[in-house]
Amino acid sequence: MALLQIAEPGQSAKPHQRKLAVGIDLGTTHSLVASVRSGQAETLANSRGEHLLPSVVRYLADELPQVGIKAQAHLVDDAANTVMSVKRLMGRGIDDVKRLGESMPYLFEACDQGMPLINTVSGLKSPVQVSADILRALVQRGESSLGGELVGAVITVPAYFDDAQRQATKDAAQLAGIQVLRLLNEPTAAAVAYGLEQDQQEQGTIAVFDLGGGTFDISILRMEQGVFEVLATGGDSALGGDDFDHALAEWMRQERQIPAELGLAEQRFLLRLARAGKELLSDVCSTELSFDGWPGDATYADLELTRERMNLLLDPIIDKAVRATKRTLRDAKVALGDIARIVMVGGSTRSLRVQERVADLFQQPLLTDIDPDRVVALGAARQADVLAGNQSGEELLLLDVLPLSLGLETMGGLVERVIDRNTPIPVARAQEFTTYQDGQTAMAIHVLQGERELVQDCRSLSRFDLRGIPAMAAGAAKIRVTFQVDADGLLEVSARELTSGVAASVQVKPSYGLSDVQIADMIKASWTNVEDDRSARSLREQQVEADRLGEAITMALAEDGARLLTSQQQQVIENQMQRLVAARNGHDHHAIAKQIEEMAKASDAFAAMRMDDSIKLALAGKSIDQL
C-alpha cells in the first residue's frame, strides 16, 4: 500500500470539489439511500441511526405527508390514507390494480390515462406521486448526511421491470426534483457492491442470486478490465420467501389436522408461527411450535419442527429457483463450472437451506459478507459516484441488457419481435412493414413487450398512428419502424414511410398494463406454452391468409364475376367461399389450410381469365414502342 498518493493536477477531484451523488434502492417494503464517502460505499442513516426507511407514506389533511416508521405506525388505524407497497402499482393500470384485490385497502379512482389514483384526505395520489414522496425523504436524508445539494441519484429497479415500470420510476424522481443519473438493475447493482473489479487479478463470470419475499431474480455477468457485462437475466417473479412460509404453514395444518377452511386470523396465525419457526432454525436444529393463542375454538398440541423436516418442505420451492438459474445459465451460454463468484441478495437468502443448495449447485462458497438487504443500495452508490465524475482513469463500466423482448403487432394479433430479450443496451433496431390493403393511407403502430407470440399475452406499451401514407397497392408502401432503447432501458419508437418520407414518433409513455403476476406469467408461460403458442400462431396465420384470399375473391367477383363467368361458375366459387368462411371461423388450422387450397383451385380459372382480360385492356390502344 502506498504511503503517499500524488495526483496529477486536474486528474483527480480535490475532496471539497467532490460531487455529491447517492444510490437509492426504492424497495417494495423498505428503501435505502447510500453514498461513497472516503472511498467506501455506506448506507446513510437518519438522526436516530436507522438505515432502512419503510416504504410507507401517510397522507394528512393539512400537513406534509409522513414517510417511514411514523407512517408505518398508522397502517391499521388510518389504513385508507397510509400507502404501502406502492412499488407494486408503478406503471400499472386501474384494471391490474383491481386484480391485486384485498391486499390493497385503498379507494382507487381511475384518471383519464387509466392510471390508478388513491383517494386520500390530502387528495388523489398517483403511485408516481407516492414514490416521489419516498424519494424526497431519501434525498433529504442524503443531503443532510452529506452536507450539500446532490447532483443526482442512481435509482435501482428489478431486472424484470418493463418499460412502463421503469418510466414510472423515472417520472417519480423527476417529480421529486432529483436528477436521475441512471436507472440500474438491482442484481447488477449487487454485483458492483462487492467492488470485485478493483482487484486487477479478478476476472470471470459472476452469478447474482436474488431471492426476495415474492420474487426471484438471477443474473449472469462477466467481469473484465473494470467492465461488468450482463450476459443474461432471468428468474421467476412469483417465487420467494413467502412461499416458504406457506409451505410450512400447510405442513403444520396437516400435522395437527386443522380443517382446511381457515379464517383470515387463523391463516395469519399459522404464517406468523411458520416465519418464527423458520427464523429460529437458523440457530438451532429443532424447535417446538406452540399453538397458544390460536384464534379458533379448538386447541392443538405443540409441534416439533426439525431442520431436516423444514429442508424437506423448502426443497421443492428452492428447486424452482435452481431450475430458473440453470435456464438463465443456458441463455448466457455459460456452464455451471464457469461461475467464479456468487453474490447473494435479498432477505430470503438468509435461509441456511437456500445457501446450502446454492453453494451445492455451484460447488463453491458464496459471497454473503454484505447485508443482503443493503447490497443493492451500496452498489448503486458506487455507480452514482462514477457517473458523477468522482473517479478518473479506467473507470467501472456497467453494460446491461434488455430484460423482456420488444415487438410490434402484425396482422392477426401476432407479435413480430423487433429486439430479443438479453440484447445489450443501448440498442437501435429497425424493421420494415408494408400495407395490407390497396389504397391504405394510415397504419396503426402497436408496441408490445413480452415473450409470447400473441398480442393478448404481451404487455401493451403504446399505440400510435402513422398517417398520410400515399395511396398505393397493398404491399407497395415501405414503413420502417425504429426502436431505440437507451442505457436506462427506456424505449423510443419512430416510424417512417420510406417512399414518401412521412414520419411519426413517440416516446413510449404507457399508463396502464399488466399486474406483477401477469408479468411473471408472461415470463413463465413463454417457457411452458411454446406448444400452445405455436398452434395458436398457425391458426392466426391461416385465418389471415383465409381473410386475404376471401377479400380478394369477393372483390374480383364484384368487379368481373358477371362479365367473365357463367352463373354456374360463379355459384361454384360462392359455395367454396362459404366453406372457407366456415373453416376460418373454426379453430382447426389444418381445416382452414385445406379450404384455402380448395378455394385457390376453384378460383384458378377465374384468376387466369382476369389476367388475360387485364392484359388485353392494358394493350388496347397502345403502340408497340410505347410498351
Binding site: R182, A388, L397, L398, P426, V427, A428, Q484, A487, V530
Partner: protein
C-alpha cells in the same frame, strides 16, 4: 466516431471472414469505455443522444461480427448481395434431403429412450458441419467466388436454425 463506416473499419479490422474474437472483444470494450452514455451523464443533451447512438451502433457491430453466420451475411451484403432475400430459395437437392432427415430425427428425439446421448451426437454433427461450411465460406469469399460463398452461408443458416431448435429442445427436456 463515424457510425456510417462499415463494422470492420470501426474496430480497425480488415474486411475478412477470419476474425480474432479476443482482439475484437477487447477493442469493443475499449470503444465502449470511451463512448458509453455513462461517460456523458454531465454533458449536453445532444452529446448524450450521440453517445446512445454510437453505443447502439457498436453493439450492433459487435453482435454482427462475433457470430460467424451474421458475419458471413454481412460480408456478402458489403458486396451488394442479399443472401436472405425471400426470392433466394434454391438449394441443392442433396442438402435439402439431409436437412429433412435431420429435422425428422430432431422431432423423434423428444420421445427417445436416451435423448441426451442423441442430442449430444447431433450437436457435434451440426458443429462439424458448421465449421466445414465456415471454412468453405472463408475460402470462397477470400477468392471472390461470391456465389459459392452465398450458398455456403445459406446452408450455414439452416444448420444454425437446427442448432437453435436443438438447444430449445434440450432446455425443455432438462427443465
Amino acid at each position: 466516431m463515424d457510425i456510417s463506416q462499415d463494422y470492420f473499419s470501426c474496430y480497425g479490422l480488415s474486411c475478412d471472414f477470419a476474425v480474432d474474437s479476443v482482439a475484437l472483444r477487447q477493442s469493443h470494450r475499449q470503444l465502449q469505455q470511451q463512448h458509453h452514455p455513462d461517460r456523458f451523464v454531465s454533458k449536453s443533451d445532444s452529446d448524450q443522444r450521440r453517445a446512445v447512438q454510437i453505443t447502439a451502433y457498436l453493439n450492433q457491430a459487435y453482435a454482427t461480427l462475433s457470430e460467424p453466420l451474421k458475419r458471413g451475411i454481412y460480408l456478402l451484403q458489403l458486396q451488394g448481395m442479399d443472401p436472405l432475400a425471400p426470392t433466394n430459395t434454391q438449394m441443392p437437392m442433396d442438402f435439402l434431403l439431409q436437412q429433412i432427415e435431420l429435422r425428422e430425427s430432431l422431432e423423434e428425439m423428444s420421445q427417445a429412450q436416451d435423448p441426451e446421448t442423441q442430442m449430444d451426437s447431433m450437436s457435434s454433427r451440426l458443429q462439424h458441419q458448421a465449421s466445414q461450411l465456415e471454412s468453405e465460406f472463408a475460402q470462397a469469399y477470400g477468392s471472390s467466388n461470391f456465389e459459392i460463398a452465398e450458398t455456403s452461408v445459406r446452408k450455414l443458416q439452416f444448420i444454425v436454425k437446427l442448432q437453435q431448435q436443438l438447444d430449445a429442445l434440450e432446455g425443455a427436456l432438462l427443465d
